[in-house]
């Protein structure tokens, strides 16, 4: 019994020290993540959460265990306040404190008994229970739908941004070409105007 209590306690402590990060690129490896968060404190362990309901284009998530709860909190607030990029821009990662349900291996709570029973069809609750089952299925479908919509939104935003980025970059190239090749200075001389060089 004692051992179980201890296990529970240490598990709860671990939960407090762990950060849940998502919006990660599937290309990000454990070492990358570790290096990224090492700036903030001591990283003990990095564990990727494998999602079995994966769809194309979904972001990955990971649980990062830090040495102290304070470090974890600092990281979370830092990431929240200023966009933090891991292996790819500009989509920032998102962090929040971990919850016990996110963990894979939880110790059993001591002193807990679970009960279950089969309902008879004559039982008055049978109907209600069947209805509940239907609702649960419906919810699962709703969740799927929402997830799909979310992914669509993300892709849309990404497309938008990449378009605008390309546009900006081409404009930038244009201007750079002009200045580099000296066309701008020559034209300025010709028209007797001055080009002010903006200090970088």
């Amino acid at each position: 019994m004692e051992a179980l209590m201890e296990e529970c306690a240490s598990f709860e402590d671990k939960v407090k020290r762990t950060i849940y990060i998502d919006n990660l690129s599937p290309l990000a490896k454990e070492s990358v993540l570790k290096a990224a968060l090492d700036q903030f404190g001591n990283v003990i362990q990095v564990e990727f959460i494998r999602s079995y309901l994966e769809m194309k284009g979904m972001a990955c998530a990971a649980l990062v265990e830090m040495q102290s709860a304070k470090e974890a909190k600092t990281i979370i607030s830092e990431i929240r306040n200023s966009p933090f990029m891991i292996s790819g821009m500009p989509r920032p990662v998102r962090a929040c404190s971990a919850v016990a349900e996110m963990f894979d291996d939880r110790p059993r709570k001591p002193g807990r008994k679970i009960v279950c029973r089969w309902l008879k069809t004559s039982d008055p609750d049978f109907e209600v229970a069947m209805k509940m089952k239907l609702i649960v299925r419906k919810h699962a479908k709703e969740v799927n739908f929402l997830l799909k919509r979310q992914l669509e939104e993300e892709e849309e935003l990404a497309k938008e941004q990449s378009e605008s980025l390309n546009i900006i970059y081409s404009k930038f190239e244009l201007i750079e070409d002009v200045t580099k090749s000296g066309t701008a200075t020559r034209l300025a001389k010709h028209y007797k105007m001055r080009i002010a060089d903006v200090d970088r």
Partner: protein, 665 residues
């Protein structure tokens, strides 16, 4: 520091400005403005706030010469000034039909701010020149002090009382700058503070229990003995017998209809004409008044590189029927010399409502006393038909001009801070035949399974047809417990794994993958669970279906990770490539930052969708200032529609309440 900040702003502006000219996409301008504002608020929030507090005195109030304002009358006198005999102090006054007394909390509007400031009146006097002045000690909104908040969480409608010495503690302003009365309740556990009752909390607009020292910039729960030379007891709640007039004054006198002419008279007086290209503030609307709109309703654009769409109109005082916030904004007589550019004119909507974040139209905040610090539920009322410009940084609600139905389509989002408790189970005697699960000894671990990593096992199981997904379990179960349940209920030895939660999992629902020994076993289990009901102790039937896992798609990257054209990229060399692969914070003067902000907005939006769906708080709100957050509403409305305005948790609760047998919690 200001110089550096301005410089960086200029650089940013320069870099984007030429592109802005070319780019017809208005969204970019909105984001540009957003980024500007974010920078600004991040660095300079505090200075900005305090430096402008004195602006009230610089406003050219035209009625300085007027002696008697028909809407103003003095109340109880307090005494003459010691130094200057011409100064008369007062304890109360009536303005625009509302009674204000000493130590009331008031709203004050600044010309270029949408959100009014909230302050506590600590001194009221009339100068020898017949100027009516009040001294207010300010309350800070969380958004104004985010820089110093760090990890401190604030309640949704919490304010911070200013304390200490220095700029930002208090200001002396004219009475005419007051735009309304505010109900702020102190919930501090300080022994000098009379604890508020439930009803008081219900009707409170805001609460506070902490102070923000303007000099040391610290937040603390300790109250000094005096703030701004006023005894701290005055800042706490008033004694109960005095509470009546407080509420009455807030509500009752508002409903008094005033002659429109007198109000118009006042409005012109309180017109703020300043040459800035500030934003107009928005106004309350008349719900039932027959009063038509005066003047035009103009939508203005701030000339500072930002497309902030604001609405302003003239309304009647009878419209201030909303029970709480008296947000009487300064009215623009648009027929006069409006210094703002009018870009759009609203057509059909003649009246504009600004709905306070705390309920409007009867959706009041409800407090929950179970938690020591009462956390207040909000209701956001929005009307999607009126969401004109989705890029407006501040989204306000527009109401149908005739006010027939309070809100055409009401979307109410409830933010609750209660966590639905997952309780542990108590052993009790029941009359039903139950299967008590005992902790199986480790010999139960069948040697039939080879210890493969779960990934492979799941794949194999799916191929063989032995994979089943169990849903509607208690999320706090462990995998071993699930195995136990299956063994006792279905008499099959299985191996189970609880599915890990992520940010969009339903916190009430647990799922588990179960691998049976054979596909027939799986089949029978599924059919059995379908036909009959296996009820878990707290009224949950277990739902089973064929498990299926998606193949992990080997994708090359995440949508949202952009790179500029390949060829050029390779030319850029080592450092650039390293820069992408290393992790970093984005700097605020780059386009990357701007885009990152867009992503953050989307992330916040998505967390709010999920929250709304599951009806439990998932992510606390981040650094996105509330105006930007409001942009999500049109998107959210789609999803709310989908779930038929009923949240998943609510549905389950509804059914559960129909269960006749007692539920063990």
């Amino acid at each position: 520091e200001r110089e550096r900040e301005r410089e960086s702003l200029c650089h940013f502006a320069f870099r984007s400005f030429p592109f802005l000219l070319f780019d017809a996409n208005s969204t970019r301008r909105a984001y540009f403005a957003a980024a500007c504002i974010l920078q600004y608020t991040q660095f300079k929030a505090f200075e900005k706030l305090t430096s402008h507090c004195d602006k009230y005195q610089m406003l050219p109030f035209r009625e300085a010469e007027e002696d008697s304002n028909p809407n103003f009358s003095w109340g109880v006198k307090k005494g003459k000034g010691a130094l200057n005999k011409g100064v008369q102090f007062y304890k109360s006054f009536t303005y625009e039909g509302v009674d204000f007394s000493l130590y009331d909390c008031v709203y004050m509007c600044r010309p270029d701010e949408d959100e009014p400031d909230i302050g506590k009146v600590v001194k009221i006097w009339e100068t020898a020149q017949k100027k009516r002045m009040v001294k207010v000690v300010w309350f800070f909104r969380p958004i104004e002090v985010t820089h110093w908040l760090c990890n401190i969480k604030l309640l949704d409608n919490e304010l911070l009382l200013a304390s200490g010495e220095g700029i930002g503690l208090s200001n002396c302003n004219r009475v005419e700058a007051i735009t309304g009365k505010c109900n702020v309740v102190c919930i501090s556990t300080d022994r000098r503070n009379p604890q508020p009752k439930n009803e008081d909390l219900d009707t409170a607009d805001f609460v506070f229990y902490r102070t923000f020292d303007v000099r040391t910039r610290e937040i603390s729960e300790e109250f000094p003995n005096s703030i701004a030379q006023i005894e701290v007891e005055h800042y706490f709640n008033k004694e109960t017998d005095q509470k009546q007039p407080l509420h009455h004054g807030g509500k009752g006198s508002l409903e008094k209809p005033q002659s429109s002419s007198s109000f118009v008279g006042t409005t012109t007086k309180t017109v703020v004409k300043d040459g800035q290209s500030g934003r107009n503030t928005q106004l309350k609307k008349a719900t039932s008044s027959s009063w038509e709109r005066q003047g035009n309703i103009s939508v203005t654009n701030g000339t500072v590189a930002g497309t902030e769409v604001k609405y302003s109109c003239c309304i009647s005082p009878t419209s201030l029927s909303d029970s709480h916030a008296l947000k009487k904004k300064k009215l623009l007589d648009s027929s006069g010399t409006a210094p703002f550019e009018q870009h759009k004119v609203m057509q059909s909507k003649s009246q504009v409502t600004k709905v306070v974040e705390k309920g409007g139209q009867g959706n009041l905040s409800v407090t929950d006393k179970t938690i020591a610090r009462t956390e207040v539920k909000h209701s956001y009322c929005t009307s999607p038909t009126s969401l004109l410009d989705s890029h407006a940084l501040k989204k306000r609600n527009l109401q149908d001009s005739l006010g027939t139905a309070p809100f055409e389509q009401r979307k109410v989002m409830k933010f609750t801070s209660q966590v639905i408790e997952i309780t542990t189970w108590v052993k009790e005697a029941f009359p039903f035949p139950f299967l008590f699960l005992s902790i199986r000894s480790s010999e139960g671990a069948s040697t039939w399974f080879k210890e493969q990593p779960w990934n492979e096992r799941l794949h194999v199981a799916q191929e063989r047809g032995t994979l089943v997904l169990l849903e509607n379990l208690d999320p706090s179960y462990t995998s071993a417990e699930v195995e136990d349940i299956v063994w006792h209920a279905l008499e099959q030895k299985v191996s189970a794994k609880m599915v890990q939660h992520n940010t969009f999992s339903n916190p009430l629902n647990g799922k588990a993958f179960v691998i049976f020994k054979s596909s027939e076993g799986a089949e029978t289990a599924i059919s059995k669970l379908k036909r009959r009901c296996l009820m878990l102790g707290d009224g949950r039937p277990v739902v089973a279906r064929r498990g299926s896992i998606e193949e992990q798609v080997k994708c090359s990257g995440l949508p949202g990770h952009l790179s500029i054209g390949r060829i050029k990229f390779q030319k850029l060399g080592e450092e650039m490539r390293k820069a992408v692969s290393t992790s970093h914070h984005s700097q605020s003067n780059t386009i990357e930052h701007e885009m990152a902000v867009e992503w953050r907005v989307l992330q916040e939006k998505s967390s709010l969708w999920w929250k709304a769906l599951h009806e439990v708080r998932v992510f606390p709100s981040a650094y996105i200032p509330p105006p930007l957050l409001a942009c999500h509403l049109p998107v959210l409305s789609k999803f709310i529609h989908f779930s038929c305005c009923k949240k998943q948790a609510a549905e389950i609760e509804l059914l559960r309440s129909k269960l006749k047998t007692p539920i063990w919690n």
